[in-house]
């Protein structure tokens, strides 16, 4: 199993550009998540999904959109990139239905908006 994979690893965007961060998991996990980590801070939840076709906002959803058309994929869309979106983005997945179940993280995408 590859686990959770994310592409790209690094990206530099100009202000106002758009991009999609890709996330794929091969563990047949129903739950998937997007987090961002700013320097010196913990991870903050952007969006999450409990299954294909179902998504919901996390703590910091503004400026982002998600979709979940398959169990495996959970892309994160940035529209009109802003410098405040400079961060490291982590995708994660987990098994369904268990309290506090372990989340498996991808290696991250480092995004710089200039």
């Amino acid at each position: 199993n590859a686990g959770v994979t994310q592409t790209p690893k690094f990206r530099i965007l100009k202000i106002g550009q758009s991009m999609t961060l890709q996330c794929t998991q091969d563990m047949n996990h129903n739950y998937m998540y997007w987090y961002r980590q700013d320097p010196g801070m913990g991870l903050k939840l952007i969006y999450y999904s409990v299954g294909a076709g179902i998504t919901d906002k996390g703590e910091v959803p503004n400026g982002y959109n998600v979709s979940r058309s398959t169990t495996e994929d959970f892309p994160l869309r940035l529209e009109l990139a802003a410098p405040s979106q400079t961060s490291v983005y982590f995708c994660a997945s987990s098994r369904p239905g268990l309290a506090g179940d372990e989340q498996y993280f991808g290696p991250g995408t480092r995004l710089t908006v200039t």
């Binding site: 913990g42 991870l43 939840l45 994660a92 309290a99 372990e102 989340q103 290696p107 991250g108």
Partner: protein, 112 residues
């Protein structure tokens, strides 16, 4: 409002000694707590967890203690090894929501 706090940004411990990482929380609804370990340029990896119905959980060199009345948990690593050098995040969740709230992390350095 930081619901999960790790007040020590860094900790240095000699190899073979005990490392104690602390975490405080404010939300009394949290009922499951997890520790994640993160190496540079990698995603966090799960280390150990504890349910609020327990006060201790042990896995090899790692033990997590939970003091619900104080809203405090700690991670003990004994003995500490150089490979334990990483950033450790405390996280908490409510019920089956699976939405983790993370602390800001503690960077542990284990020296020879």
């Amino acid at each position: 409002d930081q619901q999960v706090k790790q007040n020590s940004p860094s900790l240095s411990v000699q190899e073979g000694r005990i490392s104690i990482l602390n975490c405080d929380y404010t939300n009394s609804m949290f009922d499951y707590f997890l520790w994640y370990k993160k190496y540079p340029a990698e995603g966090p990896t799960f280390l150990i967890s504890i349910s609020s119905i327990k006060d201790k959980n042990e896995d090899g060199r790692f033990t997590v203690f939970l003091n619900k009345s104080a809203k405090h948990l700690s991670l003990h690593i004994v003995p500490s090894q150089p490979g334990d050098s990483a950033v450790y995040f405390c996280a908490a969740t409510v019920g089956t929501a699976s939405k983790l709230t993370f602390g800001t992390g503690t960077r542990l350095q284990v020296t020879l």
